[in-house]
Symmetry: D2
Subunit: 271 residues, 4 copies
């Protein structure tokens, strides 16, 4: 029997949260996923981090797990609740002793053990622990515990680090979906050993502006190299980006991966 | 009347050139573009640069213009012929006096003046001249010459620099298509003032491996940080990535942009 | 006859400004420089930028010219007065139209035309205009105007960009002194064609902490990769770092360059 | 009783090795160090890595330990002998299973246990394992074994990472000396808890050119952003850079650190 994962990429600002609230129930009704995951690293109104209220909003909209990324810690309210909030996960490979929160979650879904992992890349990003080594160690442990339905949100900048990680994990996880660039790629595929892969799911939030932010400060920064306070784009239309993946619940292998993209050019349609 | 542009992203190695030779004639037969542009910055068998033989192969396959990128200069044979080869263009904003070759080409196509520009970004890339200022200056000159059908291949790493450039040029050019990440994005769109935009066209070449290169050296580099000689993936199936864009030849505004993706999961189909 | 330049590196925070006020009069009394230059890019109490009050303090302490760097624009009060303040210069090669302020100053000193230039590097720094090309153009103009006593504060991160610039300008300027790393180097030298060179003058400010900032937030950032608000070190002893350079006022060639370093291990001594 | 460490920074190319051979015996004769350490990461004639012949030359000149850095692996001959060569150490925090060689050496010197550690930074360098965490773990082990005379060569780019590491280890090691920038700093100091610190020892090799390399290819790269093959500067005068440190052999605390700089402006003098 198949298990379906529904995933939405980086939720950005008020428009992002409202768009999740508007479309996630419809998508769940139509797609009937067993596991729904939403990246929430940009959920606050300033586009950096998440707080408890937004966590609840996204969960109430239908998420089972919320993942994060390099902006995980930008809203300091997260330190108040992440330790007690098992279904809000931050990248596994943050360094240091006693990193707040957890880098993955294990859940029982209809009798199947399922793990969702959040991982972060390093190329052109912060100096954190080795994502390759960290995920290898976790997979050894999960496989020992007979968990073989495993979803990874790999939050990374470059296409090369994402594809290399996907091939590295091919056959050991069910799916790896990238986040962080805020632009959806069209390369959804099943890798040779059964892992579903999409370089980036894209973002959910304001469609205008520059990957979620207002255009003017961004272009001023590019053209003057002087400081410009970036602000979330708060007007205009929205985009919702993500994918769904069907996994054989016995083998943990993926059978199918399909992009989801809703915006003014691609209105919502029943699936 | 409309003018159609056909664009193929970074051609990688022998498989890339063979894939262009195989499919470009079919695509031209079916799509009947007035202008065909192919990015050739990775055309040599080692995936870096281009030489005269490969330039001829891609032109003979049907290209009108070949664009380049950060690998433009990696095969030094280019210095022998780029000055005399107007339809092979390198990024406009390379610095220094007497940069070999040209950063754009102006052509008469069925009575319309058309310009194709190659531009390169700077975020997480080499320190070159300002792409925003350089293209602004060139557009001022082109518009003075009444050229308003303008295609830009913007070779850049980040989604933010690409979208910022697209919005900066919106209404002043017909289309901006990104290259360099080797993975196609699914965000093809017409911006508010009539410029067609796609964050990245993706690559044409080996589908296996890591964005054109063999997996083993890449994963070894990531996992050991020790030197590993990267090599082009020379076996397995191929991918062809690109897009086509319809432009109103009177106003220079784009009417339509559509992705092209051919691989083992998406076989060639008549358009 | 010789002309003497006295230069102090990046002035950091309250301790930095107080240290300039304490020692600069002594240094001027003992060394009798004709031109005194102080880098003030970190002069505010938070270590970022400068304001009018601090500008006046440093000028009143004895500076003839204040130079800046990548933190030039971090305190927005600068926009209120930099255009009218010719002896406060910002890096020449900031991009964009109508950059506030000036990148160099020309002064008449005892009948000699002298220029002081502020320049900024690009390796591991912001994407700004080419410092090599920009300074070449300015030097052409200055030489045409018969200015040959020229001091450059090159604000840059890497030793290679600094040494390359120094050799590039050797014989065309009197002295190039680096800033930005906040640590003084011991390589003061006269280059073959007569330009004095020091890779970095070092900083003037709190001696404890990490290049001017409190240790705890910095080490926490390194060990956790989580956000930590950096703060200027406000206690402990101070360091003053700089150099003086003797230039033949006829030829513009340097005769001598000597480091100045005052801290708890190296108390002030008459020169 | 005191123990003296003599340290020489990055040995670059033929001139570097010859300079070590010329001056190290003199320095040892005059300074009578108990432990002599030479960084050899650029010892080959192309300035990248080391081979067995050069290893022997530097040892025969008087080194007890040779340290490396980011260029450790650039000459692949090292893989043939580093595992059997305990006094040639590479940075401790290279990632992966079974990294060739060792990251530190423990030696008995006149009845005292001494450790020499090679460590590498990450800011603006390769993505390797956390140097802070790695050295903490090693120090816990060394202290358990009652080793308290400990010298660290920290191969890193930025002044901030070096000073942060020094303060982090202050009181737990005898000395931390930086390498990699190839330019000596003048900030030698004893930190509050007894650790000697110098941001960078500087290089030993060709004094002309750009930190060991010929000027022309470097300036061409800066001014054109096109590929230029860097080559070691093979003519002109030499520089030798380093320092010596006196350590109380009972407490492991440093008493004194002093720069050594020999070049055409600073001829060798008896100490
Ligand atoms: Fe994000
Ligand atoms: Fe992110
Ligand atoms: Fe490419
Ligand atoms: Fe490229
Ligand atoms: Fe500074
Ligand atoms: Fe700075
Ligand atoms: Fe080195
Ligand atoms: Fe190095």
């Amino acid at each position: 029997m198949d298990m379906r994962f529904l995933f939405l990429g980086d939720t950005v600002g008020n428009i992002g949260v409202a768009t999740v609230e508007k479309y996630l129930p419809l998508l769940k009704h139509d797609l009937k996923p067993q596991v729904t995951i939403v990246n929430g690293e940009n959920a606050t109104k300033v586009g950096r981090g998440i707080n408890h209220e937004l966590y609840l909003k996204i969960m109430n909209a239908g998420a089972d797990v919320i993942t994060l990324g390099n902006h995980a810690w930008n809203n300091s309210e997260i330190f108040d609740f992440i330790n007690q909030t098992k279904n809000l996960i931050r990248p596994l490979n943050y360094p240091g002793k006693d990193v707040p929160g957890h880098g993955y979650i294990e859940m029982n879904v209809n009798g199947n053990q399922v793990a969702v992992i959040n991982l972060q890349g390093r190329v052109f990003m912060d100096e954190i622990d080795d994502p390759f080594e960290n995920v290898d160690n976790l997979l050894t442990q999960l496989h020992k515990d007979n968990v073989n339905i495993i979803f990874v949100d790999f939050h990374a900048e470059t296409t090369s680090e994402k594809k290399a990680m996907a091939l590295h994990l091919d056959g050991r996880i069910s799916a790896l979906v990238g986040t962080h660039t805020h632009v959806q790629t069209s390369d959804g595929q099943i890798l040779p050993h059964g892992t579903a892969f999409l370089t980036d799911a894209g973002m959910t939030g304001p469609n205008d502006g520059v990957i979620g932010m207002k255009f003017e400060p961004v272009i001023n920064k590019f053209m003057t190299a002087r400081p410009n306070r970036f602000e979330v784009q708060e007007t205009g239309s929205a985009v919702l980006s993500g994918c769904y993946i069907d996994v054989d619940s016995k083998s943990g292998k993926a059978r199918k991966i399909k992009n989801i993209l809703i915006n003014k050019d691609h209105p919502y349609q029943e699936f």
